[in-house]
Symmetry: C2
Subunit: 334 residues, 2 copies
């Protein structure tokens, strides 16, 4: 039986980041009918064949990836609206979507989509990023959609959204997003994930490391404890060298070093977050949203630094894409 | 006129690190008669030719580099003593020299040289590294020789050494070494230089940067100020992202971003150093020793964080090598 006949879609939604592209074919009420995960992040788009039907322009890689992600869905249902979030809207993306200032709410974000006419005739709507001018400048692109999805889930589950929520989005760059009354009011960015990868791959710390057979929770906890104790007073630029020094002196095995370093970095992040929240006021609740293993690490770190144990939410991008498509009037809910 | 005839050498000294090898031919009283700078750091040794006279062993790269550094000097004066400091004595080096525990003094260090019989018959003496067991484990290898050289210079200049000195050695890894009564009593390591290179070369921060025509002091100062202000409260994992965010929002040019990032990192290091010294007690004086541009950056950073303006010393490795060769009894001073 053809699923297109039984479940007619009303939206195609793309979560299009730096390193991958997720495509969702969505039915009424935002139910996901079909999902695709492609490796075509904006920094590694497919290369055109020299005799293909595509135009030879800077956009050709985007067109090819778009075709693979949802070309057949659009052929089956021409005219389906298409919405996207993430780095596809950055200066290095397909078309630049503006940054909106915080505070921002789902309605305001949905009202400012950028538009791209694709080669195959469909119109792609790109969700804007968010910009924080207050304090040190900060930007996000893609995470705003996850937070919108999370706000929507919370509202759907309990009927009301906590008045003062801190949403943590661990990843390459961990964003901590403050939500008050359903609006994104401020946020911080920690480059913890990308710094970890750079230290491991491109400094002397990686030289003595070996991959553990399984995550080494004890080594991770040891890293947290160093970051949170008087030993961590020299800060992250100093404590990370102990990964090597403890290894050289036989106090930390090669297999324990990766998770020890992870504990140090996430520990220093949690300590800094605690200091920021002490200055700004504690939220009523903390929610983590993202990769399961990473969320587990952060959930174990926060209480170590006197922060509330967080609740865990699944990935929320598809719900945010749906919610913003509705806000933007791309689909009419029954 | 042959310089060998007029200036008979009494020591060959090698400063042999990860990325380069400096060789000194030294006359009586430690005068440098000749210097060579070769690219043969222990991580990039010369490759043997397949039909050469060298033995096919793991040591062959070291033998070849050694021959290029001082083979002719040893032919001209067979039996000259040879001393070396640095990573050549590490687990990845030619032969492992032990780590000595701090506190350590020049006499103690000079008494514990490791020995390598070289293929050409000369004996190479390698200076041990230092190990700190107290607190978080820490090690150094090569910097101890610079500090010994500096202690010797200070004693030579004023007749006495300050009772409580802090020696900063900026570089790939910046060491801060506490010297009391002419002994190395404790030290800290900040991976600032290597972290800077990894962030610039292997994270998204490098993507928006361009090399400035000349060091951008204003951008560096701006980085220092952020690290030292309430804006820096999120710590280095957070503030570094402002390099990108300020760039994306037109507030920091591509050419200003490298020095801004340098200011952030050195600023966070100086802030942490200040915290450590507040806990341990201030030294009577701070001396910086190393690359001129880096020392200038640190000298400008320290007072920004309430630390004393440092005095600057030149590179001191050759003086330390000389001093330790004397301590070890490798040469007899007249």
């Amino acid at each position: 039986m053809n699923p297109d006949a039984t479940h007619s879609a009303v939206l195609i939604a793309l979560d299009w980041g730096t390193s991958s592209l997720r495509a969702y074919r969505m039915g009424p009420d935002g139910r996901v009918l079909d999902t695709r995960h492609l490796p075509w992040g904006i920094m590694r788009l497919p290369a055109p064949s020299t005799d293909g039907p595509m135009p030879a322009s800077a956009a050709v890689g985007f067109e090819l990836a778009f075709e693979q992600a949802c070309g057949d869905w659009l052929r089956a249902q021409p005219g389906l609206p298409v919405i996207a979030c993430g780095m596809v809207g950055s200066a290095q993306g397909w078309a630049q979507a503006p940054y909106l200032d915080v505070p921002a709410d789902p309605r305001g974000i949905g009202a400012q989509l950028a538009k791209v006419d694709t080669h195959r005739g469909a119109m792609l709507h790109i969700i804007p990023g968010l910009l924080q001018r207050q304090g040190l400048a900060n930007v996000m692109r893609g995470e705003e959609t996850q937070v919108v999805g999370l706000i929507d889930s919370e509202a759907g589950a309990g009927g009301t959204v906590d008045d003062d929520l801190l949403v943590g989005l661990p990843g390459t760059h961990c964003k901590w997003v403050r939500v008050r009354g359903g609006r994104i009011v401020e946020f911080d960015t920690f480059m913890t994930g990308e710094v970890y990868a750079a230290l491991r791959g491109h400094t002397i710390l990686g030289r003595t490391m070996k991959d553990p057979a399984a995550p080494d929770d004890a080594a991770f906890q040891r890293g947290l404890e160093v970051a949170g104790s008087a030993l961590g007073q020299g800060g992250v630029l100093s404590t990370i060298f102990s990964t090597r020094a403890l290894g050289l002196t036989g106090q930390l095995s090669a297999q324990a070093q990766p998770d020890y370093l992870s504990g140090l970095l996430i520990g220093h992040e949690a300590a800094a977050l605690r200091a920021l929240l002490d200055a700004r006021g504690m939220p009523s609740r903390i929610v983590l949203c993202g990769d399961e293993d990473l969320c587990r690490r952060y959930a174990s770190a926060l209480p170590h630094f006197g922060l509330a144990a967080p609740t865990l939410a699944g990935l929320a991008a598809e719900r945010g894409l749906w919610r913003l498509a509705v806000s933007a009037g791309l689909i009419r809910q029954p």
